[in-house]
Every structure is written in C-alpha cells, then in structure tokens.
C-alpha cells in the first residue's frame, strides 16, 4: 500500500470493524460486515462496488449522515460513532461536503442561493460565486434548478459541497444520473477541487472506468473491503469515457 499520501502519513479517516445492519421493511440487511479502511489527507479515492455492496452506507457513515451498528470510525482524532447528534451536526457543518446522485438541490432556491445556504453557516467559506466559477457555472448563478441541465445541477451540488472549504468531499454516484460527456464534466470539477484545494475526496461509483482517475481504488463487495489498489498513474477525467 505504497503511495505518496500513505507515505505522508496523515490519516483523515480510519474505520475498524465497521458494521451496519438495518431493516428495510421486513428484511434485515447487513450493509457493512466489518470494514477496516484508512483515507489519507488530500488523496482522491474511488470506491467501487456493485449495487448493494455497502459503498453508499460506508460513505454515509463517514459523512456523519448515518450511524454505525458496531465498530469504530475516527475522523482525525474524533470518534464519530461515540459522538452524538450535536457533534455530528458540527462535523458536517465544518468538515464535510456532500455530492449526491440525485443532486438534492432545493428547488425553490437559485444556483447561487443553493450554495449560499451552506456558506452562510460556515466559518471560512468562499463566495458562492467563486464556488460556482470553480465548477464552470459563473454564467448560471441566478438559474433555478428546474432551469439547469442534470450536469449543471450536479455541478451546483459540487459547488455547494466545496464552498465551505471542507476537509473532505464525499460524492455518492455523482455521475450516476448523467450521460458520459456530462459525467466527465462533473468529474473534472471534482478532480479540479481535489487538486486545487487539496480536499480529501471519496467518490463512490459502480462505474469501473472512473477508478482510473483515483489515487487509490477501494473495491467493496458484500459489505467488506475486497481489494485496495494504488494507481501508478492517475488519469485526467478527460481521458475517460464509458
């Protein structure tokens, strides 16, 4: 597991024996069955896995959106499992940026306002305009979500996620709802943020092509980490297509 980030040694996330069981109607689902994993400062990790492999659950727990059934999750020296709602809220507010598969923009707010709603509660945010410029949407500031294409909406979502200058950026199938060309634009935005702001970034996807843009690829199956691979050469998103 030799790579520059691992060598730099600063672990952002560390999980030990992470387990998650939940009920979906009458079914009991073991989403995670003991995940041990580290994510390092500044690296871009792609987590690959089929549907039901537990990757979204893992991302949600890392982001403080969901709680673990068992095991340990540390963010720096904070224990996210032991932390209550107050700590998780503060953690999400200060440290984490999210990008969702279905964007989850607030339809009654414009692009700028969708970003501003986050910057207004952050300590050291960038201006919403600057965040939108980073994702190439300088011209669409005052458009409502319904007036934007899917790719544009997702880039607004990225701008919203990064505008607070989070330490980590967590993206859940960010291209899942997009076509290949638009998906590449979104990935470029993510890569750009990772490169320029040194934000520790985790992208989960079932699309193996996307793995090529990562520093490190974590493969999940059936609730466990089945493989971790380091990319010797990180491809630019523009080189990708599917």
């Amino acid at each position: 597991m030799d790579n520059t980030y691992a060598a730099s040694g600063r672990v952002v996330f560390a999980t030990r024996g992470l387990t998650k069981v939940y009920r979906n109607g009458d079914m009991v689902i073991h989403a995670l069955r003991g995940v041990d994993l580290e994510l390092y400062a500044g690296e871009l990790t792609v987590m690959l896995g089929a549907s039901g492999s537990g990757k979204s659950t893992l991302l949600n727990i890392l982001g403080g959106l969901d709680s673990a059934t068992d095991g340990e999750v540390r963010y720096g020296d904070q224990d996210l499992v032991a932390g209550g709602d107050r700590l998780l809220t503060a953690y999400r507010r200060e440290h984490v940026g999210f990008v969702f598969q279905f964007y989850n923009l607030i339809s009654s707010l414009t692009a700028r306002e969708n970003v501003a709603i986050v910057t207004e509660i952050s300590r050291n945010p960038m201006r919403p305009e600057d965040a939108l410029e980073l994702v190439g949407l300088r011209e669409r500031l005052n458009h409502f979500p319904s007036q934007l294409s899917g790719g544009e909406q997702q880039r607004v979502a990225i701008a919203r996620a990064i505008a607070k200058r989070p330490a980590v950026l967590l993206c859940d199938e960010p291209t899942g709802a997009l076509d290949s060309r638009t998906g590449v634009q979104v990935l470029e935005a993510i890569a750009h943020v990772n490169r320029e702001l040194h934000t520790t970034t985790a992208v989960i996807t079932h699309n193996v092509v996307i793995a090529d843009m990562a520093d490190r690829v974590v493969r999940l199956s059936d609730g466990r980490v089945s493989d971790v691979r380091v990319n010797a050469h990180r491809k630019s998103p523009a080189e990708l297509s599917w």
Binding site: T57, N60, G63, L65, N104
Partner: protein, 787 residues
Amino acid sequence: MRTIHRKLLRDLVELKGQVAAIAVVVAAGVMTLIIAVTTLDAISLTQDRFYRDYRFADVFVDLKRAPEGLAERLREIPGVDHVETRVSAPVRVEVPGYPDPIRGRLLSVPDGRQPDLNRLHLREGGLPESGRTDQVVISEPFSEAHDLRPGDTLTAIIRGRLETMTVSGVALSPEFVYQIGPADLLPDYERFGVLWMNRRALANAFGMDGAFNNAVLSLQAGADAAPVIDAVDALLARYGGTGAHDRDDQASHQFLTMELDQLRVTAVFLPTLFLGVAAFLLNVLMGRIVRTQRQQVAVLKAFGYSNGDMAVHYGLLTGLIVVIGLATGIALGAWAADALAAVYMEYFRFPAISFRLQPQVVLLAVAVATGAAALGTYRAVRGAVSLPPAEAMRPPAPETFRQGWLEGSRLGRLLDQPTRIIVRNLARHRMKSGLSVLGIGLSGALLLVGSYQFGAVDDMLDTQYRLMHTMDINLYFSEPTSAHAVAGLRHKPGVQHVEGFRNVPVRLVNGDRDYRTTILGMDAEPQLRRLIDTRGTPQRLPPEGLVLTDYLADYLGVRPGGTVQVEVMEGHRRTLEVALAATVSEPVGVSAYMERQALNRLMREGPAISGVWLLTDESQHGALYDALWDAPAIASIGLIGEAEAAIRDYIDDTVLVMMGVLLLLAGSITFAVAYNNARIAFAERSRELATLRVLGYTRGEVSWILLGEIAALTLLAIPLGWLLGTGFALALSEAMSTELFRVPFVITTQTYAFAAAGVLVATALSVLLILRRLRRLDMVSALKTVE
C-alpha cells in the same frame, strides 16, 4: 436576507394554496372568537354607558293612584336616592295613512324639563314646551317606522276623546332600549310606540291632577333593592300598588339581559368549537406540510444545519401562516362584529354603539392559534429531524404491507391493482387516514352546526304559529270585562270565531326562586290557543290547578303534584298556594295557564275576561278595525300575523345572520381541509403515480388511485361529521335555551343532506384543482427528484 429565509418565503409562495387554506382555518376560528366576544362587549358596554349617563332607575312600581305628597315618603325610605313620580297611561294612536291599529304608552315628563331618572336622549327636536298640552316626544323607532318628524301630527284617543298631538321631539330612553308593547315578545315599531307628554297635560286628561300612578326610584350606591321594594310595597299597598320590582323584571332590561346571556353562551361555545376544530386541523395540516419536506430537512442537515435551525425554520413558516390567518381573522372579525352589533342596535336602541377590540381577546386568539400551530410543527419537525439524514434522503423503504382479509375474499379478487393500492394505503396508514377522516368529519360537523338552526327555528315558529297560536287577532280590554262581551264581538264584520281569556299578572314563588309572569285563563280546550305536549298533541286544561311551561317549572324547581305560591299583582293583592297540575312544552315564552273559571274562582270574581282572540276573514279587516275603534273598552289590538312576521325578521336578523357567518366560515374550513388533504395526498403519491405512468398506466387509471383514496376518506368522513355535528348541535341547543326561545333540537334531513353536500362540493373542487396538477405530472422528473 439569509438564504434560508429566502427559502422560507419561496416555500410560502410555492405552497400558496395550502398556506391560504390553513390561514383560512385559523382566520375562521379567530373570527368566531372576535365576533362573539366583541359583539357581547359592545352591547354590554353601550348598555352600561347609556344607563349611567341617562340615570336609569333601579326600582319600578305601578299603582292605581296616590297623592303627590306620598313622593316625600318614598324619598325617606332608607337606601333611596332619587324618586320620580309619573303618570302613565295606555293610549290608542292613529297615524295618518296607516291602516292598522297602533298601541301607545303615554308617560309624563316634568313640565318643560328632563326628569331626574330615565332621562330622554333627544335625537331631534326638544321636550314639550312648558304649559303645552298638545305636544309629545315620540320614541325613535316609532318615529322611524312612520316617518314622523318634529312638527308632524298624530291622533291619540285619550279616554275616548280624539286629540291631535304635535311631535316636538324624537328620543331614546334607557327604559325602552328594547321597546316592546305589553304582552308582546318582540318589538313591533309600527304598531307600538312610546310617547312622552307634559305631566300637567297628561294628569288633566286622565284625572290624575296632584297624583301619580307610576314611580321610579334610584338607589344609593351599595344599597340593596329588596328592603326598598318591601318598603315601597308596604307604603303603596293602600294605593293599589301592583308590586315594585327591580331592573330584573323591567321588560326592556329583562330582554336585554336575556339576549346578553344568550350572546355570552355563544361567545363561549362557538369560538371554543371553532377554535378547537381549527387548532386540531392546523396541527394536522402543519404536520403534513413539514413531513413533505423531509428530504429538504435531510439535505440541510447533511450540510450542517442543526435540529434547532430546522425547528426555527419551520417555526417561522408556521408563524407566518398563523400571522396571515390571525391578521385576516382579526380584521374580518372586527368588521363583522361591528356589522353584527349594528344589527343588534336595530333591536336595542342605544344613542351610540361603544365598540372596541379588547386586547385580551386578540391575545387569546393569538395564543390559541400559535399554540396549535407550534404543536403541529413541533411534532412534525421532531419526526423529520429524528431520522439520520441518510435515511431521510433515501427513497423511503417500501413500507410493510400485508394481505388483508379483503384480498382473499371473493370481492377482493374483483379489485384491480389500482384499487388494491387504495385499499392497502388506507389500511396501512390507519392513523393518517383516521386523522384525515376526523378532520373532514369535523368540518362537516361545523357545517351542520352552522345550518341546523335554520331548520330548527322554522320548526319552532311553525309549532308556535301553526299549532298553538291559531288566532288572527288578540284584543285586550282596558280592564277585566264580563264574559258576555264575547257574544257582542261575534257579530263584528268578518269575525268567524271568538274565545275569551283572563290574564292575571302574578309572581310565582317556590322556595327562593321566583318569576313574574301572567296566568292565562282559557277554555278547557281552546281552539285558538292550544297547549301541546312534547309530541305536539293538543292538551286539555285540568279543571283545577296550574299548568306551567316545562322551562318555567324547571326554573322554579316544581313538579306536577307540588304547589307554587302565587302572588296576585292585580286588584287586591293576595298570596295563594296553588297546585301544579301539569306542564306543557312550548318553544317560545314562559307562561302559566289555568282553566278560566278556575282562575276566576281564584280571583274571587265572576266570569270575567281580560281580552279575546278572534279568528277572522282577513278581507274584512278594514271594516273590523273601524268597528273596534269605536269600542272604548278596547285597550289594544294585536295582529298575530304581524307578530309572526316580526319574530321571523328578528331571528333572520340576529340568530341567522350569526349562523350565516358561521356557515360561511364552516364552508371555508371544509374546503381548506379537503383541499389540503388532496394536495398532500398528491405530494405523497406523485412518485408512485409517475412510476405507474412510466409503466403504461393511463392518466385516468393513475388519477383513480389518488381520487379513489380521497373519495373513500370523504365518504367515511360524512357519517362521522353527522354524528359529531349532531352532538355539537345538541350541546348548542341546550346552552342557548332562554326564557324567550327554546330552539327545539330538530335536525332536518335537509340539514344532514346540506352538510354532506358541503363536504362533497369542497372535495370535488379540491379534486379538480389536483387534477390540473396530475395532468402536468412529469414522469421523468418526478422519478428523479426525491423531494
């Protein structure tokens, strides 16, 4: 402005239909409170001011005749402040161009000046000039009814002599705030008027020089009326005093008090009902709005908004809606209360209405509305934030459904898939379905409460005028007359049937309860004035003993078989023990009855009558009036048809106006609830419906899932509404029964049909609005957005 606040405003605009509907619910509840309390307050405040400023007397007494010197003795009674002696006389009046008989009451005022007590508020003109014998001040409602102004003339028949009088002024008096003639239930401004004349002129005409036959007294602050009344009675017994009484038995004050009591009941009952229902609906509706925003709550939480931030956000949303509702309710309530008070002022004649909006009422409305909204929002926000954001953001997990009995049954196999969806949704969400049914049911119940009185009042008046009072005309003689007079009247033009009656003013006493009324002595089986039981069957008067209306018997706490003390207030005043033989059920008035000859025996008199009832041919009324005019012994002529019209007008103007307002509010609430219900059902189902469209279902089939559910809820709600409404109406009937009216608890089929139709129309309108949205349902976007 912070972005989250901008979201708030945009949400308000986006949800405008629902916001308006909820605001209507709040406004309706608040409006009821403001109307009821403010109207009550306006009338009692106005009454207090008028009584104080125009020195309304505390004790009243009529007598045959006493020398003026006795006034000094009255003044010496401990506790008495002022004494005003007067001459009072019944009079028959003719106004040029008006055909019907008019009864009048002539009262003296000191020559050329205002009396010390019961002063006149002059609207126009002035008091009769000192020394003039041909000038009168007339009461304002009478002047309006006949368009009489100062300078106009009218004719009065004083002791059989026709006198032409000139109107010197038009006035109001605290003694006649509610201006009704003797033995009337309601004002008839055309056929009864009050006239004030110089004392000397009036005394001359009635042979009362240096004497008086009426006195009013005011009490010193803190003095008790009872000992003063006893002292006055003792002093005046020799002079034919008919018993002094305090304000409680003064006709105008009594009616006013009764009306205020009724308003007071209304002011508690209706706002409690409306605000209660509104609070419940507000709670449910706000809860649902917040729940539909579950996803947005999750996103905001994912970005670090705390539970507290969310609570504040939705608290503000609720707050703004409540403020819109409150402002509307308070403004409309104040406006309607002002209008309603003006209607009451038509019946209660005050110089000016003192109208104010009491801050504590407004505060109460604010507290109730805010509390209910806060509760609903709190529960929903707590529900929305208690889920971890990840869970809230996931498309909701398929809910647990089970096969119910319906699916296995033969009927169940006939159901198509969409219908199964409806059945299972309703069964799965029993709590939510139950609340919807309860909400719609409650609004239906309000519709019923708002409308049942229209039918019930009709029923009451029909009983009164079709079953009981079947005469056309009643005549009162100036004094008790021999029963032979009946024979003489049979031959007057157009008279078909005549029945004599004896009417004796009494005070009925049982223990510490007493009531002033009259005993009506009639034939054992009168044809023109029937007594009925609760089922409406005519009753025969027992040969001995007293018959009371059940309301009065209850009030006195006496049952058939028991006895009542009867204080006779006419002629020789005596107190007798009389057995209560039976009770009768009557919706209007509080009377006592006896067989006429038994009453004559009780009075130790021959076969005397106080008046007669006539059944006549209406086409000959002109000739009949002319014939009756010439009979000097006739003190008054009352027309029953006119009385019925007057009573119906009065009820239309007051009770039914109030009910009409309530009905309007109930209708708005019904629509608001039905619309919100439909709107939320649509929001909750749109994803599912879009999926079905993608799978190839037609728009009609998809609509059925939504509409079928709404229809099922509505159909369940209607019988519940009937049930609740019947309960509310029963409680209201009980609470509103007064001495004047006991609106029977009758709910007609039409009322039930009306309440059901109201709910159905409101639902149909809401469904039409929702169908427009359903047509615009965008399959793809509905599937993608999880909001």
